[in-house]
């Protein structure tokens, strides 16, 4: 088909569609709504994943864990481009006791000021408050508090495994996260009050928005000794990574299924649309238009209709994401007991390249498939039969 013929058929398809605007609009409505809804749903899925990641890493661990770091290295060495903050922590195993009640724990020595700035575990406080720099205080889980039978204000005794010096600590706050490794056998206290120093320290590295942990780790490997070990949240939390992948796969299946159904709808509606204009196709055939050209005309009509419908659908979906992305959707009621939503259950739908492009691309593909049936039906019909029937 030469360019001039293509132009002619595009013009004819455009005139057919634009001058039967009402039918075209009704027909397009299905594509518009499917594209908008799926853009919004995929943005919501991205938002759910973002929330799970944010909740999981923001609570305590950070995007990257640096372990067994020597004291010759300080937090400033790890603050490179893309890093929002580095939290220094030391793990000291020991025994925590309240009279006869004794529990073996890992005491995490932290810088409370920096922790408040980057980590969100303090938000899970259910009694009292978070620890402060310089005070002999401890922040422990409700499980541990129950096991030791303590409340805020109670005095506990900590006996570090690597030292014989005992430390008295006042319970400043009690928290509950619903996450096993944080709720059992762990407590927090300020660095300076511990009588012992560990030989190594642990870094929780928090990244700026949109920064890939892999990229930062690669940079650390270039800048720092190779022996240092860094793990991304994906390596630390494989279950979360799997859940996110599962979320994307489910969304993909939903999209394909929705468009599968929509394409059948489009095909049926298009068959009706084409049979409504059967007379036109019959006249064309009588004038010497080939079945292939008629099939081209129908396919061009479907493409045009879908392009316009997809653009409107994209705008609709974009608008919905823009509004809800700003205000957020509060799903706390459904997430309050979920470990991946410990800090906040508010979802902020977010558009990505795929969430924006995949629905219209699928709509386009399935619409093309849906055009085959009406095009085939009309192409095989004889002009004389059509002309006799009108």
């Amino acid at each position: 088909m030469s360019f001039r013929y293509l132009k002619f058929w595009i013009k004819t398809a455009f005139l057919f569609l634009s001058r039967s605007a009402r039918s075209t609009a009704v027909l397009s409505l299905m594509v518009v709504s499917a594209v908008s809804v799926l853009i919004f749903l995929s943005a919501l899925a991205v938002g759910v994943n973002d929330a799970m990641i944010q909740n999981s890493i923001g609570l305590y661990s950070g995007h990257i864990l640096g372990d067994l770091l020597p004291h010759s290295l300080n937090t400033e060495n790890l603050k490179i481009d893309g890093v929002a903050g580095v939290l220094k922590r030391s793990l000291i195993p020991g025994i925590l006791s309240n009279g006869d009640s004794v529990e073996t724990i890992a005491m995490v020595a932290v810088d409370p000021g920096a922790e408040l700035k980057h980590a969100a575990i303090w938000k899970k406080t259910i009694m009292g408050r978070y620890i402060q720099n310089g005070e002999n205080s401890i922040f422990l889980s409700s499980t541990l508090a129950k096991q030791l039978d303590v409340q805020t204000g109670s005095i506990l005794q900590f006996n570090p495994a690597i030292s014989k010096k005992l430390v008295k600590l006042m319970v400043s706050g009690i928290y509950k996260t619903e996450i096993d490794y944080l709720d059992q056998g762990i407590a927090f206290c300020p660095f300076e009050i511990l009588p012992v120093k560990t030989t190594t320290w642990r870094a929780a590295i928090f990244l700026k928005k949109g920064i890939d942990p892999g990229q930062i780790i690669r940079r650390y490997r270039q800048l720092l000794p190779k022996s240092l070990e860094f793990k991304s949240w994906q390596e630390m939390m494989p279950a979360l990574l799997q859940l996110i992948d599962l979320n994307y796969v489910s969304m993909g299946i939903v999209m394909v299924l929705v468009f599968g159904v929509v394409s059948i709808g489009i095909a049926c509606a298009f068959v009706i649309f084409i049979f409504k204009n059967l007379r036109e196709y019959g006249i064309m055939k009588a004038m010497g238009v080939t079945p292939r050209e008629i099939a081209h005309l129908i396919v061009i009509e479907v493409i045009m209709m879908n392009l316009v419908a997809s653009i409107v659908g994209i705008l609709g979906g974009f608008l919905a994401v823009l509004i809800t992305g700003h205000t957020g959707i509060d799903l706390t009621y459904f997430t309050s007991h979920n470990r991946y939503f410990v800090v906040s259950g508010v979802i902020f739908p977010r558009l990505t390249f795929y969430s924006l492009c995949l629905p219209p691309m699928l709509a386009f593909f399935f619409s093309l498939v849906s055009a085959i049936w009406p095009a085939w039906l009309i192409a095989r019909k004889k002009a004389a039969d059509i002309l006799r029937s009108i």
């Binding site: 039967s20 006249i283 009588a286 004038m287 080939t290 292939r292």
Partner: protein, 224 residues
Amino acid sequence: MIQLEGISKEYRSGRGRVLALSDVTFTFEKNSKVAVFGKSGSGKTTLLYCIGGLERPESGIATCFGVDIHSLSEKALCLFQRKNLGFVFQHGNLFNYLTIFENIAFPLELNGFERKAVVKRVSELLENIGLANAGAALPYELSGGEVQRVSVARAIAHSPLVLLADEPTASLDSDTGRDLVQLMFNMGRDQGCTMIIATHDPDIINLADARLPIQDGKIETEDK
């Protein structure tokens, strides 16, 4: 010249097998105006469709200016039709979604005419049919007679060798019908078309160069 030799066509329907044309043999001279007439269901339209390649007869040969049209492939037949044939239907059958200008331009654009030539030709034809100001109108805005005039203009726009008209005046009053016949014959003559018209209209029958009466799918007599 169009030659029909032993053309037979039958349909299968709820009423069983219906013989629409039976062994029709006839020669249409070049540039002639031939009226095919007969009662409803006599086979007039089927004959026109067989000449135009819209129907394939069970037997017989239809030669249109040296081309055995029913031996052509589907694509070749379409290309032959678009270049050499023009159809006028009973109710005009214009494209509802195209303006009058676009309707007349359709066969020209289909035949690959340049845009300038299309505009010139359509403007001339609109002038000839007395609808110079109606180019931008849509078919529903025109009267039945005007629609038929546009239909004639569209059928001869690309200067086909053959103009086939299926009861073009059937839906018009007698005065309008007479005007249309005159217009069609004049325009067809100017273009050098061979015109074959299926009709009941005595005006057309009287004005034709040749008459082809048909009954039950058979030619009754040949009358010059």
